[in-house]
Symmetry: C2
Subunit: 117 residues, 2 copies
DNA sequence: ATTACATATCAGTACTTGCTGATATGTTTT
DNA sequence: AAAACATATCAGCAAGTACTGATATGTAAT
């Protein structure tokens, strides 16, 4: 029970790595092979600072690895199973978790709109 | 590219469902079969209000389903693949994402400790 | 109908989290 | 060595997000 809670904490932390649209765009871009930071910037449309921050976060968690090549830094998914996890999520979205789209629990600015009205 | 970003948003939202220790404890408790709210409260150690809020969130996203039985409400995982996803996360934690534990990006109150010192 | 029990909802608070711009570090080229 | 390029770091702001306690709803027993 106590051990279970600790695992839950850790697992939650792992999932937090996947629970941001920017980080997911980055991971998804990396599925086609290694990319430099600026290539990621270009492909995702995010800015350099933002991408760099997220990459640092992803690398710190060992979800991506990097390799220096001249003045470029190549980033890559750390393991195929990361792609598997992303695919499984897509499957769930398609077949099961269809409510996600409309669900507004813990959702941006609903309160604001209501109070303004 | 635009479609990709939209999927990223949705997937991020799905992962947010899994990125909370309380929700994970609940989901993990439900892996052994359907449970009432108070059984979940008992097994997880969370309080009733909290569990109810999270269940409402999980149900809204179609990650769990419920069925009324007298004055009890039985909750259950909506699909086996949810358990699969949890297992895959465990695998990643064990084999790949070992940095998650120590990673302190976007981490509670690091700033506070530093500024106090 | 009233009480007891099971669950749901809500507002408020404290905290977490991501983005941006400015700046720093590091690496090649001239 | 200086300039140009690639990436990293940091502070501060603007959100988002979760927990709690109080209260409401709903169901079954007396």
């Amino acid at each position: 029970m106590t051990t279970c809670a600790q695992t839950a904490d850790l697992k939650a932390k792992l999932f937090r790595g996947f629970s941001d649209p920017s980080r997911l765009s980055i991971l998804s871009a990396l599925r086609n092979g290694p990319l430099t930071v600026s290539e990621i910037v270009h492909q995702t449309g995010l800015n350099q600072s933002n991408v760099s921050n997220h990459l640092s976060c992803l690398r710190c968690c060992d979800l991506v690895v990097r390799e220096q090549q001249g003045r470029f830094m190549y980033y890559e998914l750390a393991d195929v199973r990361i792609a598997t996890l992303l695919d499984l999520a897509d499957e769930l979205l398609a077949d099961v978790a269809q409510g996600v789209r409309q669900c507004s629990h813990y959702e941006p600015s609903t309160k604001l709109l209501i109070s303004v009205q």
